[in-house]
């Protein structure tokens, strides 16, 4: 275990877990946990060492998401979403001097980055935009109706997708990095949701301005296919795994307490606990294998955009999001009323509510429809260890 992972675990157990119920009840930003993550320099770890970061890889960041997910899903989701934005900058800044300087600042000041990809009018289709970059004399302006920008009020910068020009078709998009002093947010809706309440995913009218050099040079299609999509699915799945793992831990503790009451036999919930543990292992294996698959192709544009890889990353997302809910449901059956109530050490309501966001966060139907299309084109299935 790296010292960074150990530090993240400590933040999870000692800080995030302590405030998780209050964050959930108040639908408030998990400021204590995020301050602790900043304090331990865990926000900029993916920035390369040459730019003042730690050059951490995807597996380490995913391990941190898993660790945080066990304590406070909102904290973990905020951390994951932030790292997805960082990955887009790190992988696609190229030689762009502005972006490289921003990366340095990101590592030095531990900036927290948010995302405005969704847009009112296009539903959850991340690969189309209505808003467009309007360029004049090397400067751009941009207005976007964003139905959700998680922690929009608390971040230090936002990555925004838009059409390349006002004449461009909806699918010809770019993504632009806008630091805090480059945008204004007017809140249009709040976030009183079933779960992930601490992400404070309010809706905003966003107005941004800046220099054209803030636009990531690669088309968003490439940034999305090579980085945003796989990294999102990997980090989200890791934190959903964390939520499910904590549910199984609670179920195990429940069965243990029952076992103490009736020494000798296996308590009634034991079978279901075994089933939950088996599903959890399936989920974990999927995350681990997918991480290895990503590590094997990261850096190769060709391999990152190959069909079998895209299919694998989509399957990871739809699979993990469904398994998380199933595992927690099993754990709930094990704990019975003690799990259903909100006031016991075995409570699972928050876990279940948080996990239900997984299938909607880029709707599984949308992902499955895309996978179906890819499968039409796919010719061969890779071998066992390929």
């Amino acid at each position: 275990m790296t010292s960074r992972l150990a530090a993240a675990r400590a933040v999870g157990v000692e800080i995030a877990a302590r405030h998780a119920d209050d964050v959930d009840a108040g639908a408030r930003f998990p400021r204590e946990a995020l301050a602790a993550l900043k304090d331990r320099q865990l926000l900029g770890i993916m920035v390369p060492e040459s730019e003042g970061g730690a050059g951490a890889g995807i597996a380490e960041v995913a391990s941190i998401c898993d660790a945080l997910g066990r304590s406070c899903a909102s904290t973990a989701m905020i951390y994951a979403m932030h790292q997805i934005q960082v990955a887009c900058i790190v992988h696609h800044a190229g030689k762009n001097a502005w972006l490289r300087t921003f990366m340095k600042q990101l590592a030095k000041d531990q900036l927290l980055l948010g995302s405005a990809t969704s847009e009112v009018g296009v539903g959850g289709d991340v690969r189309s935009s209505i808003c467009a970059i309007e360029e004049k004399d090397g400067r751009f302006s941009l207005t976007k109706q964003a139905p959700v920008i998680s922690y929009g009020a608390d971040c230090d910068g936002i990555l925004v997708t838009a059409r390349r020009t006002p004449q461009s078709p909806a699918s010809d998009q770019v993504i632009v990095v806008v630091p805090r002093d480059g945008y204004q947010l007017e809140q249009k809706s709040g976030w009183d949701a079933l779960g992930m309440r601490g992400t404070c995913s309010n809706g905003y009218h966003l107005e941004a301005k800046g220099g054209m050099e803030q636009v990531i040079p690669a088309p968003f299609a490439d940034v999305s296919a090579q980085t945003m999509l796989p990294v999102s699915h990997l980090l989200w799945s890791a934190l959903w795994l964390g939520i499910a793992t904590d549910a199984v831990t609670r179920a195990r503790a429940y069965v243990r307490s029952e076992a103490k009451k009736t020494p000798g036999g296996v308590p009634d919930g034991g079978w279901r606990l075994a089933e939950a543990a088996s599903l959890l292992q399936l989920m974990k294996s999927n995350v681990v294998v997918s991480l290895r698959q990503y590590e094997a192709v990261v850096g190769s544009e060709d391999k990152l955009t190959a069909l079998p890889f895209a299919v694998a990353m989509n399957n990871l997302k739809t699979g993990s999001s469904q398994l998380a809910v199933q595992v927690i449901h099993q754990a709930m059956l094990v704990c019975g009323l003690a799990g259903y109530r909100n006031d016991t050490a075995f409570s699972l309501g928050r876990h279940l509510r948080d996990a239900h966001s997984a299938a909607l966060m880029v709707n599984n139907d949308r992902v499955l429809a895309r996978t179906a299309q890819l499968l039409v084109a796919l010719r061969e299935d890779p071998g066992l260890l390929e």
């Binding site: 690969r127 461009s168 078709p169 699918s171 010809d172 299609a221 190959a306 299309q373 039409v376 084109a377």
Partner: protein, 101 residues
């Protein structure tokens, strides 16, 4: 491969590059682009002309049908379908160009 930018030369181009002309016909027939296919240069970016990644699969299927070929997995990349010339080059790799010429 030489590139022709001017519309005036399109007639000449389709004579000299039958594959490009046939690719255009497929693009036009499949109606996957918002832009006018005829006004696009052979090296114009089809994604900038409105080809979505979703539509790329349909384009691939239409090309396979029209040319009676199969794209191998290694060619199923965004870049393969990025322009009329890129498509022609991939078809050339598969062996279409020689047959058509």
């Amino acid at each position: 491969m030489f590139k022709i930018h001017s519309e005036i030369f399109n007639f000449g181009a389709s004579m000299a590059q039958p594959v490009q002309a046939r690719v255009r016909a497929v693009l036009k027939e499949s109606a996957l682009l918002q832009a006018d296919v005829e006004s696009l240069a052979d090296d114009a970016d089809l994604y900038a002309a409105g080809l979505t990644s979703h539509a790329t699969v349909n384009l691939m299927l239409a090309l396979e049908e029209a040319f009676d070929i199969e794209f191998p997995d290694r060619l199923l990349r965004r870049r393969t379908f990025s322009s009329v010339n890129a498509i022609a080059q991939s078809l050339d790799e598969i062996g279409v160009y020689k047959e058509a010429a």
